[in-house]
Symmetry: C2
Subunit: 120 residues, 2 copies
DNA sequence: CTGAATCCAATAGGATACTG
DNA sequence: CAGTATCCTATTGGATTCAG
């Protein structure tokens, strides 16, 4: 991700937030976190709510969120085994911190196609 | 936010915020917007403040932000010509909305390497 | 100074098939 | 149900060079 090292954007917070942004800015990731905060728990629930995300990517995203302790994965020994993905307290905090941004997003719709990406 | 249950995430405000997240989650983009709100104006100022960003990418990012009207580009006829990139009111609003997220980022440091990306 | 053009390597991500 | 394996294409982003 961002190899922010010695001195970049003026000290402190910017590199931290860029890391967070680059994490949840990955496709579906923010959405996954939000549905987690809304109560999604099982793999299939996430798959249903975040429509169009494929299994592979959903698994990758959940693992990424687990790796940074925003989501906790729990195996429930039943038949068949259930897996539960619940947001950690940090995960809930993050979604809460996202609220002003959600309000902004509703006031100013950003069309995906309007933003040119890298090459082209 | 609407209680979980009835709708897919795509139908709600979540798709909107995901668009915003995917935009500013691109490398350097959030940082660029933040330094813009902090007062950066000229190309070289951005280049200096967001250290390590290359000209091409900085230009791409600025154009992307301009395309969605978060930054405004103005040509000042002088010798040599000066180009000024200033945040629009929406851009300032966005950075303001980012504040809680910045606070979060300082409380919970997300280590970049801890998050696996796509294939692996 | 302010970029645009180009080339290239790495990564992200869509889609399908398969498994315990 | 809850993933993994695999394949393949598109996108990203680093680095350099060129130009008004």
């Amino acid at each position: 991700m961002a190899p922010f090292g010695d001195r970049r954007i003026d000290d402190s917070a910017c590199q931290q937030i860029q890391c967070v942004l680059e994490l949840i800015g990955q496709r579906w990731t923010g959405a996954i976190l939000i549905v987690a905060a809304r109560g999604a728990r099982r793999f299939s629930e996430y798959r249903t709510m975040v429509d169009r995300v494929f299994d592979r990517l959903l698994a990758v995203r959940l693992r990424a969120l687990e790796a940074v302790h925003l989501i906790e994965r729990t195996v429930i020994p039943s038949t068949p085994v259930q897996i539960r993905y619940a947001p950690t307290s940090a995960g809930v905090e993050l979604v809460t911190a996202l609220q002003p941004l959600m309000d902004f997003a509703q006031r100013h719709v950003i069309t995906p196609t309007a933003a040119p990406r890298s090459d082209g």
